[in-house]
């Protein structure tokens, strides 16, 4: 998928609206902009702007950017809050609430200094509102229903209009029946590009929101009253193994923007690199205030953007470092079976359940390898295959793929990285020397100069 392909093929209604915008920017509109919609759960790379101020659009993982039109000097968008069916991964559909056909909603992109007018049509069965998280705007545009303005009743359209006084990384979500509407998937990114194209430029700019759902195995709709026991940890309402990779050309300057709308923090860890946070939802971070990291903790209700130079070729994991967040739906009450002899038990259970298989006596990796029938509309707890075997992952996990010779607007999956000879861990087949071992729990001081074997 690349920008030119998208331009050529169009993205349905969105592309049509986009074409109108580009050709007739000066036209005055009296009606509201067409409400673009998409039914695709795949990454749709937005085209670069051809008129006006130049900027590098963000690539929303498994998402898209909302088409706009210019109405005089005002950039107009049309968000539709509505029930959607989101394909969270192949084999699993979630019945959520979202915007314009998907959850998470489309990314709104605009430029610092622009005035935006955002029509919000409510096709939900209850009132809603939109809070523009992090944006500086008039109090009456802040989207807290009841506080900033009345909630948008079902079937009605409200208009938000404000100036974008600063660039940065922001998001939007309802602030009416907020717990339910966010548990149902209503959220989206709002990116304001700097007016100065030379300010903080990057070659690739990825963005995603962290969202958590509790969809019981075999069901389709989230349990909205859940507070802590979520079982689906997503990037943009998408789970491993079907989160699109972050495809990067070697040497690119890359930014990854992450917002957290779950109810817990997520230490997002990226392999192969060290990097620095350059932006939060509060604004750009001054260079002297940055420090190097390999895991960025994204607090609840906060956003972080980090940058790195993509020097190291390879397939590099990017994931939340909470190991339960790289699992799909699982049972948390399972006893540990490791080390148990289940042969007798297995025979006894099979008298009642002939299809019973013994699992877990050597760990849980059997799950990744065996493909047994599990409840409908459920992705296995650990799954996914790589070039060297099962990945045994789920949830918040994807891969940053750094390659040579990737075209500037090409984001299509280059396949698995082939490790150059001699750069891959290999099996030792010789004799094993006696290995160092310690059976004492006491602190053991190492003699100066280190302790040599043999």
């Amino acid at each position: 998928m690349n920008r030119r392909q998208v331009m050529g093929a169009g993205i349905g209604a969105g592309a049509a609206a986009l074409t109108v915008n580009m050709g007739q920017a000066e036209t005055r509109f009296r009606d509201l902009p067409e409400a673009a919609s998409t039914d695709s759960p795949y990454t749709q790379v937005p085209p670069r702007p051809t008129t006006g101020i130049e900027y590098n659009p963000v690539v929303t993982l498994n998402g898209w950017s909302l088409p706009y039109r210019m109405n005089g000097n005002v950039k107009e968008f049309h968000l539709v809050a509505e029930p959607v069916e989101r394909i969270m991964a192949d084999g699993m559909i979630a019945r959520l609430w979202g915007y314009n056909g998907q959850s998470t909603g489309p990314t709104i992109e605009a430029i610092e200094g622009e005035r935006v007018r955002i029509y919000v049509t409510n096709r939900l069965p209850e009132h809603t509102s939109v809070h523009w998280h992090g944006l500086i705007l008039p109090s009456g545009m802040d989207g807290v229903s009841g506080l900033s303005h009345p909630g948008i009743p079902s079937g009605k359209t409200f208009v938000y209009e404000f100036d974008l006084v600063k660039s940065g990384t922001f998001m939007y979500h309802p602030h009416a029946d907020e717990m339910v509407q966010m548990a149902m998937g209503m959220m989206g990114l709002f990116i304001v590009h700097p007016r100065d194209p030379a300010f903080m430029p990057v070659d690739r700019d990825f963005a995603f929101l962290l969202a958590a759902y509790d969809i019981d195995p075999g069901t389709y709709i989230p349990r909205v009253a859940e507070m802590t026991n979520f079982n689906l940890w997503t990037f943009n309402s998408r789970i491993f193994p079907d989160i699109d990779p972050l495809v990067v050309n070697q040497g690119d300057r890359v930014r990854v923007r992450v917002g957290n709308l779950t109810m817990t923090n997520h230490p997002v860890h990226m392999h192969g690199y060290d990097f620095e946070v350059t932006c939060t939802d509060g604004g750009w971070v001054r260079p002297e205030a940055r420090w190097p990291e390999v895991s960025i903790d994204i607090p609840v209700g906060a956003m972080r953007a980090y940058e790195f130079d993509a020097d190291h070729l390879g397939d590099w994991a990017i994931h939340c470092h909470k190991s339960h967040h790289t699992m799909n739906a699982m049972g948390h009450e399972l006893p540990t079976i490791i080390g148990a002899d289940k042969s007798r038990v297995t025979d006894m259970v099979r008298r009642h359940q002939p299809g019973y298989m013994s699992m877990g006596t050597a760990g849980m990796a059997d799950m990744g390898e065996m493909s047994m029938e599990i409840p409908e509309n459920t992705i296995p707890m650990m799954t996914g295959w790589g070039p060297h075997g099962p990945l045994e992952m789920g949830g918040m996990f994807s891969v940053v793929k750094v390659r040579e010779g990737i075209a500037p607007d090409d984001y299509s999956d280059p396949g698995w990285y082939e490790n150059p000879p001699g750069t891959q861990a290999w099996e030792w087949t010789g004799e094993l020397p006696e290995h160092a071992s310690n059976d004492s729990p006491e602190t053991i001081l190492t003699p100066r100069g280190g302790k040599r074997l043999g």
Binding site: P217, G218, Y356, M372
Partner: protein, 459 residues
């Protein structure tokens, strides 16, 4: 009585002839006369006859799994109390057997156990009709001996009561073994959980408290299983008593489970008519009226009134032939009305009225009992069907989904086994509902032939 004779002819000849071949060794009994005489009663006392009788019973039961019909056969043949009342009437069990059923089948009339719907096929039906058949035969030669005929009807009533109790006891015994089997399966699931708990105790994954929780459940279930087994044994022992068995003859088995539920219950809209035609207590009531008429030398019958008419107060003493038709009923039980014009004694009139009214009351009760029995059969059938067709499929669905959930490491083996155990509880309830249906069937048989009022209803 005509209906009864007809029913006798309805015996299942195909099964009978099959049985006959297998019973070649019992050719000696084939020639025994159908006529019951005092001489024959004495003959029953001979050691040879006793031995033949014992052999006959042994052939049916020893080492065999016996069905409900076979149990009833043996009870009628072998129950000492019943034999005594037969002997009083000058009938031997062998006579009765030959009269009613032909050669004793060693495999039984309906091996499967219970026959739904076709009441004419029940052993007690054929046996009772034979007794009554003999009564009619007797009446030709000893027409005046109404007392004797009444005694015979009483014997027929006893026969039916014993048959009914035996049938119920067989159903209860088999039902108890079926229940014990299901509790045993639940125990198996609990054993598996207990075994897993012990394993996890060894690896250090389960605390002693949690292990004990699994073990105590298993231990409690073991007590329940012992209870269920004991109940089954006691139920079978009750059957043994009714069959009059002892010694090695008690080495017989009953099936592990009751026959499957029939898809539908035959329409028995005619159950009232069947009851009015066949109940031996009603036949006895008629004879009672005949006896009263004979005692007071009343002239011949002038007309017939229905039980409903008598119940509604139609004048039973009117001499003229005119009748006021009152309640319209589909099926009438006719009560003979005698010409009482010559009757001077007030006491005679009262006695006659009493017997006529009491017969009408018995007939009305018989109607109600028949309707109740039919309602019970259809109701119990619906309930058992509900368990089988609604509850159990849902349980199977739960079991299937439980396995998928276990496969997905969403639930543990313990939960899987717990679902299996709960499923077995539903199976237990379904089996109980099935047993209740078959008991209702047995009661319906009794409502048609009689024998229910003394036994069976006391639960």
């Amino acid at each position: 009585m005509g209906a009864l004779l007809l029913l006798t002819a309805c015996a299942d000849t195909a099964t009978m002839s099959k049985a006959r071949d297998e019973r070649a060794g019992f050719a000696t009994v084939a020639g025994i006369s159908r006529q019951a005489t005092g001489a024959e009663a004495a003959w029953l006392q001979t050691p040879a006859e006793r031995q033949a009788h014992a052999q006959r019973v042994r052939a049916i039961v020893q080492g065999k799994t016996i069905g409900a019909e076979q149990a009833v056969q043996v009870a009628l043949l072998n129950n000492p109390g019943l034999q005594a009342s037969y002997a009083d009437l000058g009938m031997s069990a062998a006579d009765l057997w030959e009269t009613a059923l032909g050669p004793v089948p060693s495999v039984g009339i309906s091996v499967s156990g219970l026959v739904s719907g076709d009441v004419s096929r029940s052993v007690e039906g054929t046996v009772a009709s034979s007794i009554l058949d003999m009564v009619t035969k007797k009446s030709r030669t000893r027409a005046a001996d109404l007392e004797f005929r009444q005694a015979q009807l009483a014997a027929a009533g006893e026969t039916l009561a014993l048959a009914h109790e035996t049938r119920r006891t067989w159903i209860e015994a088999v039902g108890a073994f079926e229940a014990a089997g299901l509790v045993g399966r639940a125990q198996g699931a609990a054993d598996a959980a207990s075994e897993l708990a012990a394993q996890l105790g060894e690896t250090g994954a389960l605390s002693r408290a949690d292990q004990a929780r699994e073990h105590v459940f298993t231990a409690e279930l073991a007590a329940e299983q012992a209870e269920a087994r004991l109940e089954a044994q006691l139920a079978k022992e009750k059957l043994v008593r009714l069959l009059g068995l002892w010694g090695t003859d008690t080495d017989f088995y009953v099936p592990d489970s009751l026959p499957a539920l029939p898809g539908n219950v035959p329409n028995r809209a005619n159950i009232e008519r069947l009851a009015l035609e066949n109940r031996v207590d009603l036949a006895a009531g008629r004879l009672e009226m005949e006896a009263v008429a004979a005692r007071y030398r009343l002239n011949g019958q002038t007309r017939m009134l229905s039980d409903a008419e008598v119940g509604a107060g139609v004048e039973i003493e009117r001499e003229d032939g005119e009748t006021e038709r009152s309640p319209v009923v589909d099926v009438a039980f006719s009560i003979p009305v005698y010409d009482t014009s010559g009757l001077i004694s007030r006491r005679g009139k009262l006695e006659y009225q009493r017997s006529a009214n009491s017969l009408a009351q018995s007939a009305i009760n018989a109607r109600s009992e028949a309707r109740s029995a039919y309602t019970a059969v259809t109701g119990k059938h619906q309930i058992a069907l509900h368990w089988r067709d609604q509850v159990l499929p849902l349980r199977r669905e739960i079991d299937e989904q439980a396995l998928l959930s276990y496969n997905g490491m969403l639930t543990s083996t313990f939960e899987l086994l717990n679902d299996a155990r709960e499923g077995l509880e539903s199976q237990l309830s379904a089996a109980e509902a099935k047993r209740d249906y078959w008991l209702a069937e047995a009661d319906a048989t009794a409502a048609i032939w009689g024998g229910a009022s003394d036994n069976g209803e006391d639960e």
